[in-house]
Symmetry: C2
Subunit: 332 residues, 2 copies
C-alpha cells in the first residue's frame, strides 16, 4: 500500500511538472494567467495517472504515455472551466473559479485554449499509433460535451429516470475514465481484447466515481471538498440520490421531491438554501438512498475490477486495482 | 470569370452538403439542434474553398481536401459561436445567434461540440500526412483563441497601436486564412517553399479581409451585412479605422476618440447609439481613414498575390487570385 502511495505521488509529480510548464509567458495576459491558474491548481490527477498505468498494464512504459496523460487532464480541465461557467460555480477545489476571477469571456477562452493546448500536447507524444490515440481523444471530447448537454437539459426535465441518469454520467464522467484507460492501452499497444477490458474498467470506475461524487455532495466535509455541501440540491442537479429517491419516496416526500425536480435553480437566501439542504438530506436518509448509492458504487467497482482481471498480472494492474479502491473510499 | 463563379458555387455546394450531414440526430436536442443550425446557416465558405483550391494549386486533388476543408470551416464556426457569446451579438449572417435562441450555456457547449466534430472530421480525412495536418489545425486553434483574447483585452485598453492591431488580426483572422492555405498545401503535398508561399498568401488575404470587415462596419448595406451598421463603434472595438483615426486626428476629434477608446461597451439608447455612429463615421471621413483602409487592403492583397506567383501556373492558382480580388471587393 505504501509503495502504491509513493508511486502515485511520483506519477502525479511528473504530471504536475509537465502541466506547470505548458502555458507560455505570452500575451494576452488574462488568457495566459487564467490558463496557468487552471493547470497549476492542485488536483487528484486520477485520469492522467490512469492513462500511464493502463499503458504499463498493457505492456508499455508509463513514461511513454506522459504527454497523452497530460493532454487528457487538460481535456478534463477544459470541461471543468466551461462547466463552472454554466453552473456559475463560485469555487472549485477550494479556489475561486476562472470566471469569478477573470470574468465569463476570459473563462470561455481559457477553456478553449486549454483544449487547443491539449491537442498540441497529444500531438507531441509522437506515438506510432497517434491517429488512433487522436481518435479516442476526440470521441472523448464529443461525448463529454454531449453528457454536459444532457446535464443542462435535465435541469429543466422532471421526468428523469435511472436510465437517463446513467446515460448522462456515462457520457459526462464515464467517458473520460474509459478514454483514459483505453488511451493508455493504445499507447502500450494493447491487444483488442485488453483494450476492451480497459475500456470497461474505466467506464465502471467512472460510474462509481460519479455516484460517489453525488454522495459526497451531502456527506462530505466542506473544508476538504473545497465547495459548499448540498450544492447539487440547491441547483436541482439530477444526482443518483435525487433520481433514486424519487423512485422510492411515497406520499408527502414524493410530492416534495417532484417539486424540487421541476424547479430551476432559483435564488434562495443563505438561510433558505441551508433549510432546503437539511430537509432534502433528511428525506434522502429516510428513503435509504445513501445506502443505495454505496451499493451501486460497490457493484460498479466490482464489475470494473473483474474486467481488469483479463489483463496479465502486473504491478501496474495491481495499482489500477488499488486506485479503484482508493477512489470509492475517498471522502472528498 | 463566369467559370470561376461556377466552380466556387460547386465547391461551396460540396462543403455545404457535408456540413449539413455532420450532426447526428441524437440527444440532447438543444445541443444537436443548435449545432445543426450553426453548420447549416449560409456562409461564404471562404476558408474551406481556400483549403480545397490550395490543395489543387499544390498539385493535389481538391476533393481529397474536402474533409479538412469542412473541419476548418467548423473550427471557424466554433469561434463565431463563442465570439458571439462574448460580444453578446444578437445576430450573425442575418440570423439570431445561438445564445439568443438557446441560451448562453447551450451556446458554449455548441461551440465545444462543433470543435470536437471538427477534429473528428479532420481525422476522417485519412491523409498520409495527417499528423502534420493535425498540427497545423491545432496551432490555428490556439492562435485564434489568443487573437480573440487580445480582442477582449483591447476593449479595456486605450493605448492600442497599429502594431497591436496587426498582432491581433494576424492571430484572430489571418491565422485561419493562412491555416486554410497551408492545410490545403499539406494535403496536396506542397514543397516547403510552396507551403510557405501559401501561408503568406493566406495571412495577407486574411489581413485584407479583416480591414475590409472593419471598413464594412461603417459603409456596408445593413440588409446585406446581416447585422447593424456601426456595431464596432458602439461596442468600442479596436478596428483599423479607430486605431488609424487616433493616429491622425488632432484637437477636438482626438479628444473625442480617446474618450471613445477608453470607454467600455456602455448601454446606450437606440438614439444615442445612432448619434454616436453618425458622429464617429463623420470623424472617420474627416481623417480620411476609410481611404487609408482601402489602401491597406490594396497593399496586403498585392503582397498575397505576389506570394502566390511562386506556385506553378494552374487553374486553381488563378482561382485563388480571383477569390482574393472578390473578397476585397465584397460589399457585405
Amino acid at each position: 500500500m505504501r509503495s502504491f502511495d509513493r508511486r502515485y505521488a511520483a506519477l502525479r509529480g511528473l504530471i504536475d511538472g509537465r502541466l506547470a510548464s505548458l502555458v507560455p509567458r505570452s500575451k494576452p495576459r488574462d488568457l495566459m494567467d487564467g490558463s496557468r491558474y487552471v493547470l497549476r491548481t492542485e488536483g487528484k490527477r486520477i485520469r492522467p495517472v490512469m492513462v500511464m498505468l493502463s499503458c504499463e498494464a498493457a505492456g508499455g512504459r508509463a513514461r511513454d504515455a506522459l504527454d497523452a496523460a497530460v493532454a487528457l487532464e487538460m481535456l478534463h480541465n477544459f470541461t471543468l472551466v466551461h462547466d463552472d461557467v454554466m453552473d456559475d460555480a463560485p469555487s472549485r477545489r477550494g479556489h475561486a473559479t476562472v470566471h469569478t476571477r477573470w470574468g465569463v469571456n476570459t473563462a470561455i477562452l481559457v477553456g478553449d485554449v486549454i483544449l487547443g493546448m491539449a491537442y498540441r500536447t497529444l500531438l507531441r507524444s509522437h506515438a506510432r499509433n497517434l491517429p488512433e490515440a487522436m481518435e479516442l481523444f476526440t470521441e472523448g471530447l464529443v461525448e463529454v460535451c454531449r453528457g454536459q448537454g444532457l446535464d443542462v437539459a435535465y435541469e429543466r426535465d422532471s421526468t428523469i429516470t435511472m436510465r437517463d441518469y446513467y446515460r448522462m454520467i456515462d457520457s459526462k464522467t464515464g467517458k473520460l475514465f474509459s478514454t483514459a484507460a483505453r488511451l493508455g492501452g493504445v499507447l502500450g499497444h494493447a491487444s483488442p481484447r485488453h483494450s476492451r477490458s480497459l475500456g470497461i474498467f474505466g467506464q465502471c470506475i467512472g460510474r462509481a466515481f460519479q455516484v460517489q461524487d453525488d454522495l459526497l455532495d451531502v456527506i462530505a466535509d466542506e473544508g476538504h471538498l473545497g465547495k459548499r455541501i448540498g450544492g447539487d440540491i440547491v441547483s436541482g442537479k439530477k444526482t443518483f440520490l435525487l433520481v433514486e429517491a424519487l423512485r422510492r419516496a411515497r406520499g408527502r416526500d414524493r410530492r416534495h421531491l417532484r417539486l424540487l425536480m421541476s424547479r430551476r435553480r432559483g435564488r434562495l437566501s443563505a438561510g433558505g438554501e441551508r433549510r432546503r439542504v437539511d430537509l432534502v438530506t433528511a428525506l434522502y436518509a429516510r428513503c435509504g438512498v445513501m445506502d443505495a448509492a454505496r451499493e451501486r458504487i460497490r457493484i460498479e467497482t466490482g464489475a470494473g475490477l473483474r474486467a481488469l482481471e483479463t489483463l496479465p498480472r502486473s504491478g501496474a494492474r495491481e495499482m489500477l486495482r488499488w486506485m479503484a479502491g482508493m477512489l470509492v473510499q475517498r471522502s472528498y
